[in-house]
C-alpha cells in the first residue's frame, strides 16, 4: 500500500516517530488502533473528553 501524505502530514508523521522512537509503519498502526477504538466507543454512544489534570476540567472532543 502506498500512502500519499502532504508535506505537512509527513512532517507530523516524522516528528511523532522521532518523539516516540517508532518506525513510520508502527506509528501508523498505533494511530489506526486508536482510531478504531475511538470509533467503537462513539458508535456505542460514548463521548470523548480530555481532562485537565490540575483543574479536573473536562473538555469534550467533538467528533463530527
Amino acid at each position: 500500500m502506498t500512502l500519499n501524505l502532504t508535506d505537512a502530514e509527513m512532517a507530523v508523521l516524522e516528528a511523532l516517530c522521532e518523539k516516540k522512537e517508532l518506525s513510520k509503519t508502527t506509528l501508523i498502526r498505533q494511530a489506526l488502533r486508536l482510531y478504531q477504538v475511538v470509533e467503537l466507543r462513539l458508535d456505542k454512544g460514548d463521548k470523548l473528553f480530555f481532562e485537565d489534570d490540575k483543574t479536573k476540567d473536562k473538555a469534550e472532543v467533538l467528533m463530527i
Binding site: 516516540k20 522512537e21 517508532l22 508502527t26 498502526r29 498505533q30 489506526l32 488502533r33 478504531q36 467503537l40
Partner: protein, 209 residues
Amino acid sequence: MSGVPVTLLDEHKVPVDAWRHEEITEKDLTDWEANWRPVISDLVRGPRGANNPLLQSRYWDWRRKVKNHTTLADRGFTVVCQGKLQGMMLVTIGLGHRCHLPGQQDKDQVYIEYLESAPWNQRVIQDPPKYWGVGTALIRGAIDLSIQEGFKGRIGLLSLPQARDFYKQLGMIELASDADDKQLSYFEMSEKVAQMLLSHGLPGGGARK
C-alpha cells in the same frame, strides 16, 4: 494453528515441550470451561470457601474478556502443553498505556490486561505445580510483541496480590498501588530487564522461553 515452541518444567523439574499461541480460540475457551472452572469451583466450595485468598482470579470470565477485547490493539496468548490449555493472557498494544519507570517515562508499552495460569500450575493452589514456567512463557510473549511493535520490550501490568512475588522475581519493578483498588500493584519491566529475560531466561533460573 502455528505457535512458538516453549519449554516448561514438570513437577519433577524435567523439561517438557509446549506451545505458545498468539490467539485465544474457541477451543481454548471450551478447554477453560471444561477443565479450569471445575477445579476453581471445587476450591470455592472447599473449606476456605469463596473468600479463599488464593483464588483472587476466581471471578475471571475469560469468554467475556475475549469478547470485549477484539480490536486491533488487543492480542490474546495461550500456552498449551500436551494438547491442554495451561495459561492465557490478554494484552493491549499501546493505546495510551505509557510507562512510568524513570528512563522510559511516557513511552508506549504492551500492557498486560489479564494473565492466568491453570489452577494446577499455581503454587498457591497446587505445590508442586503440574508445570513450572507457564507465566514466564506468557510474559516472554508480551515482551516479544513489545519488541515487534518497536517498544523495545517495555511491558506493564496491575498485579493481584498473590502474583506480586512472581513479577518481582522476573525483575519487574513495583511502582504504585492502583488508585481504585489498593490491593492491585502496578508493575513495569524496563527495556534492559526485558532483553536480559529474553537472552538469559528467568533471573535465578527457571523454565526458558
